[in-house]
């Protein structure tokens, strides 16, 4: 009794939404207030790491081809790497600011994997459209964590970083297994199920 693929997308959307809200809160209150409680500093890096861990069962149970498996496996790895690096940085175990480059790396790998593993054209169905859109959004938005690696105190970059996760969550919430996009639904996609 597995959930449908679209439901897994919605659950990850919820994780991304919480991640975006936490990041946005950190920008609003500033690092000094945000770090007043130790557990809070680990909150969003821990959430990112947990999403990476949870990507493994997605890879195991929801992939129906080798390219899907590679895509989800690489997401799991880079999410865990980026979340783990951020955990190490906030804990103080990692000192070098170059570890922050793991986040743009995660964005680039995720974006590439989204685009590569979507075999259908943009207007094949809504899920195909969103996979292309998500992929390009991740690729273009990779400049934001890249900017943060060099200018970690930039409020503009921090706000943009937080809002990207909210936008990505909205995209993932819009995903359906078989649904039209702007009135387009390929007959090859099968009947709309709901």
């Amino acid at each position: 009794m597995q959930p449908r693929a679209e439901m897994v997308h919605w659950l990850f959307a919820t994780g991304l939404l919480l991640l975006g809200l936490c990041l946005l809160s950190e920008v609003v209150v500033g690092p000094e207030v945000w770090r007043r409680r130790r557990w809070r500093t680990y909150l969003w890096p821990g959430l990112a790491f947990a999403m990476g861990v949870l990507m493994w069962p997605v890879m195991t149970f929801f992939t129906n081809s080798a390219i899907h498996m590679y895509a989800h496996g690489s997401w799991a790895e880079v999410l865990m790497l980026a979340g783990g690096a951020e955990l190490g940085l906030v804990h103080g175990r990692l000192k070098s600011r170059w570890w922050r480059l793991t986040m743009p790396l995660a964005f680039v790998v995720t974006g590439t994997a989204f685009i590569v593993h979507e075999q259908n054209a943009w207007f094949f169905a809504r899920s195909a459209f969103l996979h292309h859109l998500l992929g390009w959004t991740f690729l273009i938005a990779a400049v934001i964590p890249l900017a943060l690696a060099f200018r970690p105190r930039s409020a503009t970059a921090q706000t943009a970083f937080a809002l990207v996760f909210v936008v990505l969550a909205v995209m993932l919430y819009s995903d359906r297994d078989t649904a039209p996009v702007f009135g387009h639904l390929s007959p090859l996609a099968g009947p709309q199920h709901r």
Binding site: Q2, M7, A13, L21, L24, V29, G30, R36, R194
Partner: protein
């Protein structure tokens, strides 16, 4: 006495940062509720007969509402307390 009075009027004492933090959770909850009203067919709970567990458990507008509630209770509430302490210490 003074602190009790301050707690009874938290919004008046909060700066813009406090206002934003206190609004994030309710705004998220409101977004989920509005989505539910606009697309009620995405709420399986409104027509629950013959639906499996996952369709009843995972409903996008409700997930947004849950995310807003979790954020408001787990993150925003202690954060507001810390922000008020920080602002009071700065005065």
């Amino acid at each position: 006495m003074q602190s009790t009075y301050a707690r009874s009027l938290p919004a008046a004492r909060r700066g813009w940062r406090g206002q934003v933090i206190s609004l994030l959770g309710p705004a998220t909850i409101a977004a989920g509720l509005i989505w539910g009203f606009v697309q009620p067919w995405r709420l399986t709970i409104l027509h629950p007969l013959h639906q499996g567990f996952w369709w009843l458990a995972i409903e996008p507008p409700l997930l947004v509402v849950v995310a807003g509630i979790v954020f408001a209770l787990v993150v925003a509430r202690p954060l507001l307390a810390d922000l008020e302490e920080h602002d009071a210490a700065a005065r």
